[in-house]
């Protein structure tokens, strides 16, 4: 990528700043933002509370009155970003993780799979193959803890959100809408089409690493049987 330059810095109140690189979803910018966030986070600055990569930029949350600050926090945050950009971002391969997510696509876990297949004009087996055959990348985590928006969905499966959202979508549900796929971390309401379920726990506050996914992760879905689903759930 040629160069990454911020479009601007927007204060998110007096305790955070959003450094914006793109107002539209650009996959290269998105990947660069994630690596920049990793770099800023890696500096372990005592006045920085959170570094949050989003789709087109990153937020730096800070303690504006931290005693280690020698300038105002907003300036310090922007200086940190410019220093990191000047130093150069780490290569994609250096930070890439691949997460394999087992998914059971059987009808009891996939209430919308038949509809999705009809939309794509393929059989349900082919729809599963299309979903599980693609490489995904986590573009952003948001909406709920561990809730990862993943890009890379086959355009054939790219149907809009459902007109009426479901009140409760079971935890672990794998769903699609537009050009993205998600895995619901909790039983929450949702308007995406549900095509399967993973037995994995997406977010577990008691785990060493609570979130299964991080922004930038490469994700693959692996079809599993009912029996394997039950085995993995009980583990």
């Amino acid at each position: 990528m040629a160069k990454l330059a911020p479009l601007g810095a927007v204060p998110l109140g007096d305790c955070a700043v959003y450094v914006e690189f793109s107002k539209t979803l650009d996959l290269e910018v998105n990947s660069a933002v994630q690596r920049l966030a990793t770099m800023v986070h890696g500096r372990a600055l005592p006045w920085v509370r959170d570094v949050v990569p989003a789709l087109g930029g990153l937020a730096i949350h800070f303690d504006p009155d931290h005693k280690s600050l020698t300038t105002d926090a907003l300036t310090a945050a922007l200086n940190t970003v410019s220093e990191c950009l000047k130093e150069g971002l780490p290569k994609v391969d250096a930070v890439l993780r691949t997460i394999e997510v087992p998914v059971c696509y059987e009808p009891e876990f996939a209430p919308d799979l038949a509809e999705v297949a009809a939309f794509a004009k393929v059989s349900t087996e082919e729809a599963v193959a299309l979903h599980a055959g693609a490489d995904y990348r986590v573009l952003m985590i948001g909406f709920a803890p561990g809730h990862a928006y993943m890009g890379g969905l086959n355009p054939k499966l790219s149907l809009p959100r459902r007109s009426s959202p479901r009140a409760i979508v079971p935890a672990g549900s794998v769903a699609i809408a537009n050009d993205q796929t998600v895995v619901y971390p909790y039983a929450i309401s949702g308007g995406w089409s549900i095509i399967g379920r993973t037995p994995l726990t997406v977010f577990d506050a008691d785990r060493q690493e609570p979130s299964l996914f991080a922004a930038g992760d490469r994700v693959r879905f692996k079809p599993i049987s009912r029996a394997d689903f039950q085995k993995l759930v009980s583990r």
Binding site: L12, G13, C15, K23, A54, P64, D65, M140, G142, P210
Partner: protein, 328 residues
């Protein structure tokens, strides 16, 4: 030893200063809606400012104390059979009844030694959407027994003994601290800087935003406050890219009803952000109950910093006063 919940009130949870450092995986810091009142309640009973306490909302609980316990209830003006905003030694076996909040919305009941629930990701705060932290990750209910520190009774006696100006009954003191986040009158003024998408609203809408007295709706909660008033319509029609949000961000969804993001807010959002509330004013907003009113005053980052500094100076002075009463 424990405190027994006889009646839970409206929305009682265990809260401390929250968990920072997890917003990149979608977890907001959470914690007390009014951290200043939490800090005062803790300081009054000799705790660290950020220890875990009970957050009460609008309607308080009935509690039974197994042993003698030093407590302080700070924040909203609850009708209660203990005096507010000061340390109180509750005798063994006593029942404390806390009913409706006259002014304000949230109170913090701290006990000497704090509440002994497990830390999750470095905090004892209850995070309701994720069902973790606090007591089993949930709102407290009738029959719960809230665990206190093992030496809570000794701590309570020692600390109460150290206090200088006791009242005549010998169960509290002759002074109290000001719960300064609780409003004297409404609407309260919320200082706000322009949000990223402020310019997406035309001059008339911008004026409406700052001229309106907004009413906090009944579906407001720890995640966000919805503000009823004239609908705000954005001039631009194109969708905006989901971006990060912050405590105090004011979003405007398509229905035109602004939402001020509170402690348990989502970490990203796809709605335009018209304004960002100064951090010093967020605890004051947390003290507004549904039906209460607010209006926005345009401000700058410099003034937001000054408001923060004023609040800090005020807190430091009160804390110093409490320390003096404890003979420190």
């Amino acid at each position: 030893m424990t405190i027994h919940v006889l009646r839970p009130g409206l929305l009682m949870t265990v809260q401390d200063m929250g968990r920072h450092g997890h917003q990149h995986v979608g977890l907001c810091p959470g914690g007390a809606m009014d951290p200043l009142s939490l800090a005062l309640a803790n300081t009054l009973v000799g705790n660290y400012a950020g220890d875990a306490a009970l957050e009460l909302t609008v309607l308080g609980p009935d509690l039974e104390f197994e042993r003698e316990t030093l407590v302080a209830l700070v924040g909203a003006e609850f009708e209660a059979d203990i005096p507010l905003n000061r340390p109180v030694l509750v005798p063994r076996g006593a029942q404390v009844s806390i009913s409706r909040a006259g002014r304000g919305a949230r109170g913090y009941l701290a006990v000497a030694g704090g509440f002994n629930v497990d830390e999750v990701l470095g905090s004892r705060s209850t995070y309701l959407p994720g069902e973790f932290g606090g007591l089993e990750g949930r709102v407290l209910k009738r029959g719960d027994r809230l665990p206190l520190a093992e030496d809570a009774t000794n701590l309570s006696r020692e600390r109460f003994a150290a206090l200088k100006n006791k009242d005549k009954r010998g169960t509290s003191v002759k002074w109290h601290v000001p719960a300064f986040t609780v409003p004297d009158r409404e609407p309260i003024v919320l200082h706000a800087i322009e949000g990223e998408h402020f310019a997406d609203f035309d001059a008339n809408m911008q004026r409406v935003f700052f001229d309106t007295v907004w009413r906090v709706t009944s579906d407001s909660n720890r995640m966000g406050y919805r503000l009823a008033g004239p609908p705000l319509t954005r001039s631009k029609t194109e969708e905006i890219l989901s971006g990060p949000t912050c405590l105090g961000s004011v979003q405007v969804p398509a229905n035109g009803v602004p939402i001020a993001l509170m402690a348990d807010h989502q970490t990203t959002g796809g709605y335009p952000r018209i304004a960002e509330i100064a951090s010093a004013d967020v605890p004051r907003l947390a003290q507004i109950a549904p039906g209460g009113t607010v209006h926005f005053a345009r401000t700058t980052l410099d003034l937001a910093a000054q408001l923060r500094k004023d609040a800090r100076t005020r807190m430091e002075n009160i804390m110093r006063g409490i320390a003096w009463e404890y003979g420190k």
